[in-house]
């Protein structure tokens, strides 16, 4: 039910949207798109729309740690308004350093206020990895380490969204030799529901989907064993890829811009990590459905998987590996030769001559 007499922060989403000229049909259309995106039965769309209309704006507190801001950019700065930008009407982004006007002490005050006002109810969104080496001194906000902030604000959060591969698994800062001791949120926080939304950056629709599901149904969607939403990370790029028929037929591009590449053949031999990467980008794509790496001619680099930066060259296929160099092979051969020679010499010394046949 809409309630026009309630104060703005008490009114439900249905009333708020109505005030802005969005009727129930917009909400239902949004719910239709979201149920499709979340791989839910379409019959749930009216239920979702109803629940959204009755729900209050969900408080989200966003903390940015050791990150490049790419995740925030991809999620919040869509080039064109899309239907799922409605999601930002459903959440109240109560704290986000890159976007808000206040800074310094005023920002800290905003954060404290937001946490106090929504204690136990807010979603804590994290982007960026958490450095733990040397007391976490490698990433500080207002002089305070990320680890310390995470531990405090995770405590009174309803659930944590680890946005981007850095927050989920450590990402690029964690790449060898990991000088800052970067780790993902799940390596620090336990006993709190965590959703990993990996990707470098993650697909924007995935965050919308998770938020909508949470606001509509009051719980997090089904997660896989890496805490990723099954609806978006249940299949590999390989299984959704439009170039899959070429893989099955054994038609591979052998080098960039060769005849096979121009025909749009499979990029497996050019290092595509599609078969071992779980993400939704092969179907949802980037930039409002424009394209994704494989469609643009470059193999998947596996950016939504842990340690993707340390899997060897992006251009070494899954059939290959970071094998030993020729120098090490030479050393191994020399060691073998020496050992074999020693064994043979020892045998030779035990039999000074080979006796002739007496016959």
């Amino acid at each position: 039910m809409s309630d026009q007499t309630a104060a703005p922060d008490q009114e439900n989403l249905g009333a708020m949207l109505a005030r802005r000229g969005f009727g129930r049909r917009s909400l239902l259309k949004f719910a239709i798109v979201m149920t499709s995106s979340l791989a839910l039965p379409p019959s749930l769309a009216p239920v979702m729309a109803d629940n959204l209309a009755k729900a209050k704006r969900q408080s989200v507190i966003w903390l940015s740690f050791q990150e490049c801001t790419g995740c925030l950019e991809t999620l919040l700065r869509s080039s064109a308004p899309t239907i799922d930008s409605l999601i930002f009407d459903f959440i109240s982004l109560d704290y986000q350093e890159s976007l808000m006007a206040s800074a310094g002490a005023a920002a800290e005050h905003t954060l404290r206020q937001a946490v106090a006002a929504n204690k136990g109810e807010y979603l804590l969104a994290i982007d960026g990895s958490v450095p733990v080496k040397d007391g976490g001194v490698y990433s500080l906000t207002g002089g305070r380490s990320n680890v310390s902030m995470l531990e405090e604000f995770a405590g009174s959060a309803k659930a944590i969204l680890a946005i981007g591969t850095c927050a989920a698994y450590g990402g690029i800062p964690k790449a060898h030799p990991n000088p800052t001791g970067a780790v993902g949120v799940e390596d620090i926080i336990s006993g709190k529901p965590i959703v990993n939304i990996p990707g470098c950056p993650p697909v924007p629709e995935v965050l919308s989907g998770v938020l909508v599901y949470f606001v509509s149904f009051g719980k997090l969607p089904d997660l896989d064993d890496r805490k990723r939403p099954l609806a978006y990370f249940g299949t590999t790029i390989h299984d959704q890829c439009y170039r899959r028929p070429f893989y099955d037929q054994g038609k591979f591009a052998k080098s960039f811009d060769d005849e096979g590449a121009r025909q749009g053949w499979c990029l497996f031999e050019l290092g595509c990590k599609g078969p071992t990467t779980h993400n939704a980008c092969a179907s949802l794509k980037w930039n409002n459905g424009t394209s994704f790496p494989i469609e643009s001619g470059h193999g998947c680099i596996g950016c939504s998987e842990p340690d993707f930066w340390d899997q060897g060259s992006f251009y070494t296929s899954l059939a290959g590996s970071s094998a030993t160099g020729w120098r090490n092979a030479g050393i191994a051969a020399a060691v073998g030769l020496a050992g074999g020679a020693a064994a043979a010499l020892s045998a030779r010394s035990k039999t000074p001559t080979i006796p002739e046949d007496k016959s």
Binding site: D307, S322, G336, L345
Partner: protein, 219 residues
């Protein structure tokens, strides 16, 4: 580190180094052993002795006519096994890719379906050979850990490979890791058991043919 990253990284490096060191160890250890001094003069020039060695390597592939009835089953199954392995390793696209990444060489592959059939026939031959080994009274007596372990370490890569190509039973990443691990196990064991025949068969037959030719005997 994920299982697959470990299989493709440190494990592959270790297995490669162990295999190289082991093969050099065994080859050096055999070739540097004391040999009987040949007091008689050579009957043939050196090049003909080499040719004799080369010829023996090839001709010993086919047993002599009089032995054929007794050895037919084992030898035919062995041919199926080895030809199948050759097709899988040198005509299968992913393996050509591995060779290309190490050496820069590559050549056209055979269709996936052909490789799958070759794999199936190879596996069938392996099972038949195991059955023969277990039921043949003499073979059963002679067989030891080396025989059974070598059989298993050849069986596993082919069976994990066929599952991987079918992308069935488990996720691609898991299947690939298992396949690579099974190949690494084979690589580590190879120099130290009867699988070393991959090199020694040429050395053994070659030496014999060389020596026969030296004596002027038929090869």
């Amino acid at each position: 580190m994920t299982l697959l990253a470990f299989a493709r990284g440190p494990a592959m490096q270790a297995a490669t180094l162990i295999m190289i060191a082991g093969m050099f160890w065994r080859l050096a250890g055999i070739l540097l052993l004391r040999r009987k001094t040949a007091h008689a003069a050579a009957r043939t020039p050196f090049l003909l002795r080499l040719a004799g060695g080369a010829k023996t390597i090839v001709t010993r592939t086919v047993p002599r006519k009089n032995f054929w009835p007794r050895v037919a089953s084992g030898v035919s199954l062995g041919w199926v096994l080895h030809i199948g392995l050759f097709v899988i390793l040198f005509a299968g696209a992913p393996h050509i890719l591995v060779i290309h990444q190490i050496t820069g060489l590559s050549w056209p592959n055979l269709p996936k379906g052909v490789i799958v059939i070759a794999s199936a026939l190879t596996l069938a031959a392996l099972v038949a050979l195991l059955a023969r080994r277990l039921t043949h009274p003499v073979l059963r007596l002679l067989s030891n850990t080396d025989d059974y372990l070598s059989w298993l370490l050849v069986f596993l890569p082919i069976s994990t490979g066929i599952l991987l190509s079918g992308e069935t039973v488990a996720g691609y990443g898991t299947l690939l890791a298992l396949h690579i691990f099974s190949v690494e196990a084979l690589m580590i064991w190879l120099p130290f058991g009867k699988l070393m025949h991959v090199a020694l068969v040429f050395a053994g037959r070659g030496m014999m043919g060389f020596n026969f030719a030296r004596k002027g005997a038929a090869t």
